[in-house]
Symmetry: C2
Subunit: 925 residues, 2 copies
């Protein structure tokens, strides 16, 4: 083992770490035999797996004994030039001794060897991300002891073969395929297909050949000393924390690099000791739907755990009803099912009952759906792991609602159980049933992760990423996926695999990503070399269109139209609870009556942003807009604006009518004028003809309006200040529409919002125009309508001078898109060249255009809110940037005391839930 | 008079104003006969002129009695729909009565009429900006009383004529030229040149014709009621506060619109009652040089005050030495001088002595150079005005230094007496003497405002503005200037007038602007119609090059080379005092050893900003830079960078050597890479050939590097993070240069500055590269050099997260140019389309790129300084934006507690003085 170096003398160690070490010199926690030194509450220190193993052990659930090396050791290991604390070795030795005592076996004992698994275990689950070594402790001597004790030469040699392969791969970095190739050769030579068709002698020969590969690749013999095996493996687990795929996973999932992983050293139990042995994975409720009418899980007889996860053999179902449903879904008749895929309930009813009891115990204890791994060794059940089960959004909602009804949790806890962003999964369109009826289903696989996806076929993760980079939607098609494919899965809109079950890598990861996935689709035949697959006699090549229904498992040729989802039942009930709890308002960004109605259906309480300029791009209107821009003087501009007025008025009548009684925030013209002029020669010619002006004039105006940095140019309120007649026209359209609505019994509540303000004076200038126009219209119509005038806060200076600005503004709405651009000095249009690099290098924790930068931009939001309210205590404050529908950002808005967030219609439920969670978090504090 | 409306009932009145009114219901303050109700301390309320008239009266200086209507009335007038407070009329009547009592005359008395002047008087002098009415009270009856009392029919009719013209022009808006035309006709008819050649009968006839013009133009008879004349004139003065030219002047001079003007109603005295009468203007010290060896001033016998100011007649000098010097300078021999231009000292020695006594009294009282107006009426001296005299920068410095030596003021006060920006006048280049010797002087005028200017001739203020808008340097040539020419004078680099004295409009305004001016140059003959002038037989047309020496009065044909000014004597002494007082450091922005040396000579204490990219634009280097940008990989980039290394090293050796022992802040590469690539087809071809790469590749790279908003793109530290090898090369050049210097006994103190940081992590990344490179170089050379690594704070986020950033930064330097851009969301390149409008509309008080925006950007500077020091108490904080050489901004930097400001070499003295003033202001608080 590596020389232990006193951690306190290590250079560059963080002071905090030392402090922690001084306080807490215990690095190793044992568990087993109904006892444990740790427990669930020590998750940060022991990792999820270690904490839960300890917890299970304390609960009296049968757990193979072992011990956990803390995450603190991992952190310290990286901070101290990959050295361990001085007394770690002694603590491990003590834990080993304790484990040996429980089982009455000794590690390295040639007669009756104790074998270990060595696994990683971080605070949060990172499935498949880090390395595991099984059957540790085997060597040329102990393998014979194992054979003697178990009476199974096959198991002995198979275990040793697996151990050599794993150790070589995981600990020493030898290419696993070298071993797999030899294994395949052995099977081919014997004319068999399955590993299980190899006998003890075959496997013993393989061990010999594996050791040869090991020697050839590494220039040394396979390590025979069990203690060296152990320490090398511990080092490998710690080392796996920093592999590129682990780093990528953490980045994608927002897991801090300094959390570290624990190492769990646990006694091996064998699911491959014959037909009275098995290994399986189960969920206490259905992770796809949340149902708990039967026990949901899969197992393989005479197998080791990784056989299930790897998805190489098709697993059997745990419960009888589950098995029947699976058979029905896969077109397997009852006779074949009973023969080839019987349930655990049928073949091992006692074990099944014990497992069912454990399931109940765990749910009652954890009051959450659990994901468990178990092994049955010669008729004895061992629980290897329990953890919070990943689930689809629909399942998350259903489980939360059901558990409230079961009185396992209260409504507040239920609200906290669903990650708001996951609601996206429920809100995404599904296939249009009619379109789908017309479509050709070419195959059917497992409905591994719900949702509908349409994209072009690619066959490698790298291609998926590259095509997605060109803004193509892709479906990643693989025989099976592995952790190396993560970036491609992330880039794809859907994933289709030929092999693997509902707990295969592809299924678990896709659900985690909330991404549509059809797994284990044996109907398809994939040819990586030719980049195509065949199904139902049809061949689909790279680039062909494919559609996946992740909720049914259907694989459909071509593109299929989608339809908006319907939200009822559990979801509706759940959202009502969220609304009861939240204090933050939720509005929507909508520019049309249609958008407004969608948002209302999703629970929006008003419009936080209507962008009036979008209305001008309509073909009937753009010409008038262009005439306005080309006009020589105010008179010409007014004439053109007069043409736009009736259009704008109609737009607003439509929106006011849709939002009857709810506030509607309307932003005056924002984008630079050059955006409305054509830039190609031919378009300019067309405009010249249509507008009756010389081409030269259009060219000249385009040149004149050109800006070096349009983001920082003549736009926003600067336009309205330069051309007050534009603001006046828009204000007139708003107030005429509002008066018209009032006449028809509709309650229009306009809030006029001036964009890109940087000072009180700008707002005062535009407010004068708006107020004067309102008074004009009211006196013309003989009707008055209540309205507000406020401003976007989207420039740092507006935020910094908020106290002054609020003397004019009746409301603020943070435009955090632009505010992020100016605060960072970062153009969204240009940041693509370096922002991904920044996130990859850890210079930024995430893209600040996706997640509000609380440390920087957030200070401005907080300051402006406080200062604005200082000047005007009843100032209404909201946010209308993209961040208004992002969970962490919404929670921040709640904490800062905003009145509302506003987001796109489909994100309204996310914002409602995030707001409710923020309120609960507040209460709990 | 207009109906007085109770001010408290007026709508829209500001609450503050009412409060003020409640407290202070006195609107009229009398002065005269050795007493006064006001004084200098009431300048805000009485305006400068009114306060000083009251002060003089209290000092026993003979002042024609009268009264002042306060500035508060003006402010209220505009805030209350141009209505006066209710009791103003009664207060004016009382003051009239008091004035009548002092003189024993009555206003409107047909026998012995009291006449008044009505003049504006704001808090600060706004020369020629607002209107004045003289001889008020004259009508068809009182003119005869005046003739009887004075015994001078000529004076009576001349005064009445002038009054009608002024009243018609100023109060009623009739074109003055209509009257001047008739006057000219009368002179032509009589065959005379001067007004004084007209006799009483001529003038009486003119009065008749003037009244006809009045009737024709206005459709009514000339107002005969003196009280109506008075109230109309008071209204006109208040009205003149808002004329476009007054608004322009205030904008140019940063005078708030709400200060308002007072109205001074003062008894008329007549300098035109014959040869024992005169009128004049004097300065207690020479306003051009600051000399006080004789009494500097001009007068005209038998004239009214405006004759002097208007510069139509060439005035005589007050003192004999002054007169002799004037004669010498103008080539007038002693005989001619005595005959035609005798001094006041010679022709009225008693009055001269009284005036000299008054001069001393005023200087002792005000302890500052005064600008006085006086009138001698039939042998009796009356002082009409005293005010702080405007002066050239050289005079300001000399007067301040002299007054300290005379123990009139202390050093601190001396420092406060010079507006730092005015030092520019002393620092601007003068003509190269040799170049000037070769040049052809075509005329000589009065050295009205010092400095040297070379530009193209234009003849109208509008042309001056238009040409300057095209970045041309222009000399404005006029017969004489008037307030309507202000915008053209502002646009011109120099002003030449054919007429007028040292106190003419052109001279006074040019000195105020610190702009080179040659006035009263009778040698030239101007033809506006043909847009040319002749001098010494040469004709110069519009667009021809002309040079002016404002210190000698020389008018030179063509362009003349200029040379750096030498600063010694008073200036040196004065700046030493400034340095003794100031606590803020002053560095310079310099990219070359030459700039560094200039700045050192101006007193720079280090370099605050060296822009390394400027070095790359050198023709020998740009190719290597371009090769670097075109390289396919890091290896290619490194090869190109290796070529740049020796150049950069030599640059730094040069700068370190120049700044031996002083800190040198070096900024790593900042601009976007596309700035270094050619954008025209032919340049791209040249580069393709030179760099040996296909043209297509260059085009592709240019396209790839194109940015929508380059200001917010891949630049600053983002470049160094994307291409660490660039930072490494620059760091290597810096440290190799520093080591080389140390070997040669030169103390190099590099401070490496990372630009465009927005987070601690960015700085940490670049700091790692710099520190690693430094260690490499030190170990290669076996020499260590002390250095700092810090960052620009030029993005709002860097300022907001300053506490974190300071954990990595050893210094901050505010890049307020970029910080202003991002805080305002305003591109300097594009703001030209609306920023002038913003300043004109009063939406911004001034261009925030010229004067630091303390309310917005300043909050960030203040916050970042405090937060940065919180994390690192010894953090060095400076500023290196353009604002580092602007007075108000420098004072702000002092108040915020910065360690230093850094500015361009020529602005270093300005920064030193501004810093000293800030320290004094601090002490005085």
């Amino acid at each position: 083992m590596p020389l232990a170096k006193p951690i306190r003398q290590a250079r560059n160690a963080k002071p905090d770490f030392f402090k922690e070490c001084n306080r807490m010199a215990k690095y190793v926690y044992t568990f087993g035999a109904g006892k444990a030194e740790g427990g669930t509450k020590m998750r940060d220190l022991l990792g999820g797996k270690g904490a839960d193993l300890a917890e299970m052990s304390s609960l009296g659930i049968p757990v193979p004994p072992g011990f956990t090396i803390t995450t603190e050791v991992c952190t310290g290991y990286y901070e101290n030039d990959k050295n361990y604390p001085a007394d770690l070795e002694a603590q491990v030795d003590a834990a080993l001794a304790a484990t040996e005592k429980i089982l009455g076996k000794r590690f390295g004992d040639a007669k009756n060897p104790l074998l270990f698994s060595v696994r990683s275990g971080a605070r949060v689950s990172m499935p498949g991300m880090m390395d595991t070594v099984l059957n540790l402790g085997l060597n040329d001597e102990t393998v014979r002891g194992l054979i003697e004790v178990t009476g199974s030469a096959r198991l002995g040699w198979d275990s040793y073969r697996r151990f050599i392969e794993m150790f070589a791969d995981v600990v020493r970095g030898v290419d696993r395929n070298l071993f797999e190739h030899v294994l395949q050769e052995a099977k081919d030579a014997k004319g068999v297909k399955l590993d299980t068709d190899l006998d003890a002698a075959d496997l013993e020969r393989l061990v010999g050949r594996y050791k040869e590969i090991y020697r050839r690749e590494l220039g040394e013999d396979f390590a025979q000393d069990p203690k060296k095996q152990l320490w090398d493996s511990i080092g490998a687990v710690f080392g796996s924390w920093e592999t590129p795929r682990a780093v990528t996973y953490r980045r994608l999932n927002g897991i801090p690099n300094d959390w570290g992983t624990a190492v769990n050293v646990q006694t091996m139990v064998f699911g491959n000791m014959g037909d009275d042995s098995a290994t399986g994975v189960a969920f206490t409720r259905d992770p796809a739907t949340g149902a708990h009418d039967y026990f949901y899980g899969e197992f393989l007889v005479n197998a080791q755990g990784e056989d299930v996860v790897a998805g190489i053999r098709t697993p059997q179902q745990i419960s009888l009803p589950g098995s029947r449903e699976w058979a029905e879904g896969n077109g397997v008749d009852e006779t074949k099912r009973k023969a080839r895929y019987p349930s655990l309930e049928e073949i091992m009813p006692v074990i099944y009952a014990e497992l069912e009891g454990t399931r109940k115990k765990l749910e009652e204890h954890y009051r959450d759906m659990q994901d468990v791994e178990f092994t049955i060794e010669r008729g004895r059940l061992w629980m290897l792991q329990t953890r919070r089960g990943k689930r689809t959004a629909a399942a998350a909602v259903k489980i939360a609602v059901d558990m409230v009804k079961q009185k396992l949790i209260d409504k507040e806890e239920a609200i906290m159980r669903v990650e708001p962003a996951r609601l996206d999964d429920l809100l995404h369109p599904v296939f249009d049933p009619e379109a789908k009826q017309r479509a050709t289903t070419v195959a059917k696989g497992l409905p591994a992760s719900p949702g509908a996806a349409t994209g072009q076929v690619v066959f490698t993760a790298d291609d998926a990423e590259a095509w997605a980079g060109e803004r193509k939607k892709v479906i990643l098609v693989r025989l099976e996926t592995s952790p190396e494919d993560i970036h491609g899965m992330n880039a794809a809109v859907g994933i289709l695999t030929a092999r693997g079950g509902m707990t295969s890598h592809a299924a678990v990861v896709a659900r985690g990503m909330g991404k549509c996935c059809v797994a284990g689709c044996g109907d398809i035949s994939v040819d990586y070399a030719k980049k195509c697959f065949t199904a139902s006699g049809k061949t689909l090549k790279e680039g062909d269109w494919l559609s996946l229904d992740g909720s049914t498992g259907e694989v459909i040729q071509g593109q299929v139209a989608t339809r908006d989802p319907e939200l009822t039942g559990d979801f509706g009930e759940f959202m009502v609870w969220a609304d009861e709890l939240r204090t933050l308002g939720v509005r929507t960004n909508a520019d049309t009556p249609k958008d407004s109605r969608v948002a209302l259906a999703f629970g929006a309480e008003g419009i936080g942003l209507t962008r009036t300029e979008h209305m001008f791009f309509d073909p009937e209107r753009i010409l008038a807009m262009q005439e306005m821009i080309l006009a020589d003087d105010e008179k010409g501009r007014k004439a053109a604006l007069d043409k736009l007025l009736p259009f704008q008025r109609e737009d607003f009548i439509g929106i006011f009518t849709a939002m009857d009684g709810l506030p509607v925030t309307i932003r005056t013209l924002d984008p630079p004028l050059h955006e409305f002029l054509p830039h190609t020669e031919s378009d300019q010619r067309d405009l010249a003809k249509a507008a009756g002006v010389p081409l030269e004039k259009i060219r000249a105006r385009v040149t004149e309006l050109h800006e070096t940095n349009p983001m920082l140019g003549l736009r926003g309120c600067r336009l309205g200040i330069a051309y007050p007649e534009i603001t006046a026209m828009q204000a007139r359209a708003i107030f005429e529409a509002a008066c018209e609505c009032k006449k028809n019994g509709i309650n229009a509540r306009p809030e006029v919002m001036i964009p890109l303000t940087s000072s009180r004076e700008e707002l005062a200038d535009q407010k004068r125009v708006v107020v004067a126009t309102a008074e004009e219209v009211f006196s013309e119509k003989g009707i008055r309508v209540d309205y507000l005038v406020g401003t976007m806060i989207e420039l740092p200076r507006a935020a910094l001078t908020a106290e002054e600005v609020a003397r004019e503004a009746q409301f603020f709405s943070f435009g955090t898109n632009d505010l992020t651009q100016t605060t960072f000095g970062l153009s969204r249009d240009d940041a693509g060249t370096f922002l991904p690099m920044y996130v990859a290098k850890g210079i930024l924790p995430h893209d600040p255009f996706q997640v509000l930068d609380q440390e920087g931009v957030g200070i401005l939001v907080d300051w402006a809110t406080k200062m604005g309210r200082k000047a005007r205590p009843d100032l209404k404050v909201g946010i209308c940037g993209e961040h208004g529908g992002e969970t962490r950002s919404v929670k921040f808005c709640h904490r800062v005391g905003l009145n509302y967030v506003s987001c796109s219609p489909y994100r309204v439920p996310i914002a409602r839930l995030a707001a409710a969670q923020a309120a609960v978090e507040d209460k709990r504090k």
